[in-house]
């Protein structure tokens, strides 16, 4: 594990949407996906993650359903909606342009 980065404001939503873009997952899986994909570089507390999931759900970006998990326990599964998919696309491209612009500015 390298140096841990604080999560930038607004980043969490796009990460969650990205995590769900590969199929429906429960909250725990989303949390693991983020940790594995960033190799622990991003530090995400679980509480904000769940708050964000619920917020996205009410906003209509994701929808949730109780279902059976791998080990046959009841888990709450989240799935991207069409509007969530659109949001992911828009957010991701914003992020990329932003990152590129910042990198440009910081380049020596």
């Amino acid at each position: 594990m390298g140096e841990r980065l604080e999560l930038l404001q607004g980043t969490l939503d796009v990460l969650i949407l990205r995590a769900l873009s590969e199929g429906s997952r429960h909250g725990y899986a989303v949390s693991r996906w983020v940790r594995e994909r960033t190799d622990g570089a991003l530090q995400i507390e679980d509480a904000p993650l769940y708050k964000a999931l619920r917020r996205l759900e009410l906003a209509g970006a994701v929808e949730a359903e109780w279902g059976a998990s791998e080990n046959n326990r009841r888990a709450r599964y989240y799935r991207l909606t069409a509007s969530g998919r659109r949001q992911l696309k828009a957010d991701a491209s914003t992020w990329e342009r932003y990152a590129a612009a910042v990198a440009d500015v910081l380049r020596p």
């Binding site: 909250g27 725990y28 509480a47 769940y50 708050k51 009410l58 929808e63 998990s69």
Partner: protein
């Protein structure tokens, strides 16, 4: 997914919390399992998982709050969507039934439009505060002679000075002299001489109202006293705009009136229209010379306005003025009978004369709206019957009862909003029509407009109406037994309950209509009585030209000086010359002059007694009205004289003679012939040479007061009205008469020109306005009542088709069927008429104050109107009844 969300809707906080907890527990368990696999003990693993998660309680609280809030917004938006759906649905349904929609909207528009229009008048004229600062503190004050029953007399300028000097709880008090048509000044030096409507004001007049001028200033107090620099004037806004194009530079310049230049010191703002809309200028009262109106205690000419100090009420003002006046009566012998003062709220004085009439109209128009609502409720109920099956099906399919109720109410609201909008448009038209119809009859007419308050009132009205007429049918429909409705196939859902309600509506409608037509009938009879009044003269063919002679100017002429040397007034020659000139005009049958023509002046008050009668101390001398006339006046206006009327020989120097009217003769010489007897007016006995029939002077509705006529050559007055009887159209002679006067004196301003038909018309205008409007309300009431009766009988015929068919098949004659159906309609109407008669009897006393010559409980009117209403009911029910009589029994039985 919408369904999924819908299922979760409206969860309680506890349910949401449990949901969150379950999700979090799953997460913590999984994380602990994972940590356990990498060597943590079970307890350590759980502690670690919890640490990584963060604040569980906070998460739960957050989610609960979030979901509840979002639920609320969703509920609101769903309600809105449903309302819009309902409204769109209602519109669709109304479009599908255009005749129903048109009837309902038209009825409502009429009811609401008429209401808004009348309310505009009531609001503008009566309810709206006067356009002065703190108008509640403003009062009108009068001198009172309780012995003679004269409680509201104008005030002497000398008395007013004392009132003003001794005031304590009155902040400011001021007087003015204004008489429509006679208190004028001549504006010269700006084209042809112009007569301006002037208000002559005393110090205190402007401060009482406290309305600052738009430009310039009020006259100072030292500019309003006799002998001071009082040649100043203030312009009314309308005149300033008209004559000077609104140029503020006019302040400080001067204008020339007949008696010289006046400095314009100020211009009042547009809202200041006191005492009348037509006011042009405000001139200090001090500029009126003693030769016109002597400034003495017995000359009571001023109207007085006062502003109470804050916290002082009507009683306080009255007590103060009464005390001062009582003291003056002690100190000055001439004032002895004038020992009190009357105080009335200014708002009441201004709108008082029309207040009752307006409230009567408002009541009438309210009844019209009530009928409109009942009518629409009936219409809606009839429609609801047809929708019984639809409602039943929807209930059976699980529609919420509340939702159905709301849908029906929405339809009512949509109707009433459309009706309200149409009503406002109608009201706009009606208000301008009413103002035109009541031109000159309505104080504060300029303040009447369809303003925000009125529009708000109308909309409120239409919404209340919508709820009112939507509620009963909606409630009936939604409590309908769905199963029964389905079973009956929606054909005859018209259960007895429904019918009873419709019958109640119709009876109520007829009752209200009854009240309306009785009101209209009483007003109509009163109006007929008014037009039937014996005026005591023949107004047709008479024309009048009014002017005021400038005594000072004529005194300066050689003829005037000669007359004055003989002891006559200097303008007597001029006066006679003018009458003679008019008499010579072609088309003039006869001409004469009078100071106060009928309906244009009340004459002067004068003490009168028989020579032998001794007035005891403390007893007041009888008072009569004195009117100054020329020779030939009575024959010109077409009055009958017993004895003789004045002739040119009754001049100054000849013995003073009088003509009296029958009322005076009755009072002073009961049972005797008055001709040849004498009266004392103050000096020696004066012979009565003629008795003229009673001539209505003050108003058409007011019987003649005891009046004596004085020959103008023996006791002259400057205010003159030339009256001419003409052949053909009297208005044609106005021009020639004016020219004849100007041929003698080109500087003579003409105050007013009118025909007596106009004059009588004006006196009848206010009652006519009332009778026209109440009559219109009555007709609308009759029409709505007829529609109601027609509707209910039609419905009954529709329901009983089979039964009627059976009857006809069994040999009943069509006329029997006709009679049976008409009887139903008339029975309903009769019930309504009875209730309405009782209501009308209770309400008609409110009309008493506007009625003339007819009792509020006039039996003939009540009976006649009941008969009219029943006849309308017969006519209305005979249409569907005839349809029933013509039914083909075979066809009805096959249905």
């Amino acid at each position: 997914m919408a369904d999924h969300r819908a299922l979760r809707q409206g969860r309680s906080a506890a349910e949401i919390g449990t949901d969150v907890d379950a999700e979090v527990r799953f997460h913590l368990d999984r994380r602990a399992e994972e940590l356990g696999a990498s060597g943590f003990s079970s307890a350590e693993a759980h502690a670690q998982a919890l640490r990584e998660f963060g604040d569980v309680d906070d998460t739960r609280r957050y989610v609960v709050r979030l979901e509840l809030a979002s639920d609320a917004t969703r509920r609101r938006s769903r309600y809105m969507t449903e309302f819009l759906d309902d409204a769109a649905y209602a519109l669709r349904r109304l479009r599908a039934a255009p005749s129903y929609a048109a009837t309902a909207i038209l009825t409502l528009a009429l009811g609401i439009g008429a209401n808004a229009a009348i309310f505009s008048l009531v609001y503008g004229v009566v309810l709206q505060p006067l356009p002065f600062p703190e108008p509640d503190r403003l009062y009108a004050a009068y001198s009172a002679n309780r012995g003679a029953g004269q409680l509201q007399s104008p005030v002497s300028p000398v008395d007013l000075d004392d009132w003003r000097a001794s005031r304590r709880s009155i902040e400011e008090i001021g007087g003015y002299w204004y008489a429509e048509g006679s208190s004028g000044v001549a504006l010269v030096g700006r084209g042809s001489p112009q007569r301006l409507s002037a208000v002559f004001v005393e110090p205190g007049f402007f401060p009482v109202f406290g309305v600052p001028p738009a430009h310039g200033r009020w006259p100072r107090e030292d500019e309003m006293v006799r002998g001071g620099p009082d040649r100043v004037l203030v312009l009314a806004h309308g005149f300033w705009m008209r004559e000077f194009g609104g140029d503020p530079a006019i302040v400080g310049s001067s204008v020339t009136l007949a008696d010289g230049p006046y400095a314009v010191v100020g211009i009042m703002p547009p809202a200041f229209r006191f005492p009348a809309d037509g006011t042009d200028v405000y001139v200090p009262y001090s500029t009126i010379p003693d030769t016109s109106i002597p400034r003495q205690r017995f000359v009571r000419v001023l109207e007085v306005v006062a502003r109470a100090r804050p916290g002082v009420g009507e009683d306080g003002v009255r007590a103060e003025l009464a005390a001062i006046t009582a003291r003056l009566a002690q100190e000055h012998s001439g004032n002895r009978p004038w020992d009190s003062a009357t105080v009335v709220r200014l708002a009441e004085v201004i709108s008082g004369p029309v207040r009752r009439g307006l409230f009567v109209l408002f009541g009438g128009v309210g009844l019209v709206l009530l009928m409109a609502c009942v009518n629409i409720a009936g219409l809606q109920l009839a429609r609801a019957l047809g929708r019984g099956r639809e409602m039943a099906v929807r209930l059976a399919l699980g529609a919420r009862r509340g939702r159905l109720l709301r849908q029906l109410l929405t339809e009512s609201l949509v109707l009433s909003v459309i009706g309200g909008l149409a009503g406002i448009a109608l009201a706009k038209v009606l208000v301008s029509g009413l103002l035109a119809l009541s031109a000159g009859q309505l104080p504060r007419a300029a303040e009447v407009s369809l303003d925000a308050a009125v529009v708000a009132f109308t909309f409120g009205l239409s919404l209340v109406a919508g709820l009112l007429f939507g509620l009963a049918p909606a409630w009936r429909t939604s409590t309908e037994d769905a199963q029964a409705a389905l079973r009956e196939g929606g054909r005859s859902v018209a259960g007895t309950g429904h019918r009873r309600l419709r019958v109640a509506f119709v009876v109520a409608e007829i009752a209200v209509a009854m009240v309306l037509v009785v009101g209209a009938g009483l007003m109509g009879r009163s109006f007929l009585a008014l037009t039937d009044v014996d005026l005591g003269f023949r107004p047709e063919g008479l024309v009048a030209v009014q002017f005021t002679i400038d005594s000072d100017r004529h005194a300066a002429t050689p003829a005037g000086a000669a007359a004055a040397a003989e002891g006559a007034r200097p303008y007597v020659g001029y006066y006679q010359q003018v009458i003679e000139a008019v008499r010579r005009l072609p088309g003039v049958v006869s001409a004469a002059a009078v100071k106060d023509p009928p309906f244009r002046g009340n004459g002067e008050r004068i003490n009168v007694r028989r020579p032998e009668r001794v007035i005891a101390a403390g007893e007041s001398t009888p008072v009569a009205t004195a009117i100054h006339v020329s020779d030939g006046y009575f024959s010109t206006i077409g009055a009958r004289v017993d004895g003789r009327e004045f002739t040119a020989r009754d001049r100054a120097g000849a013995p003073f003679v009088l003509v009296v009217n029958e009322a005076l003769a009755r009072e002073h010489f009961p049972g005797e012939r008055a001709v040849g007897r004498s009266l004392v007016l103050g000096g020696g006995p004066i012979e009565i040479v003629g008795v003229v029939n009673d001539i209505r002077q003050v108003a058409v509705a007011e019987p003649a007061r005891p009046t004596l006529y004085i020959h103008n050559l023996q006791n002259t007055r400057v205010k003159t009205t030339i009256v001419a009887r003409t052949t053909g159209d009297p208005a044609r002679l106005v021009g020639p008469i004016r020219e004849a006067i100007w041929a003698i004196d080109p500087l003579q301003p003409i105050t007013d020109v009118f025909t007596f038909d106009q004059s009588v018309g004006r006196a009848l205008a206010r009652p006519r306005l009332l009778v026209v409007l109440l009559g219109a309300f009555g007709l609308v009431g009759l029409a709505l009542g007829a529609v109601g009766v027609y509707g209910i009988v039609s419905a009954i015929v529709g329901e009983r088709r089979r039964e009627i068919g059976v009857r006809l098949a069994l040999g009943a004659r069509p006329s029997d069927v006709l009679l049976m159906m008409v009887r139903r309609g008339v029975a309903l109407a009769a019930a309504g008429v009875l209730i309405g008669l009782a209501g009308a009897a209770g309400l008609s006393r409110f009309l008493a104050s506007v009625l003339y010559g007819v009792e509020p409980l006039d039996a003939a009117t009540f009976a006649g109107m009941a008969a009219v209403l029943l006849a309308v009911a017969v006519a209305a029910s005979s249409i569907p009844a005839r349809r029933a009589a013509r039914l083909d029994p075979v066809e009805t039985l096959r249905e």
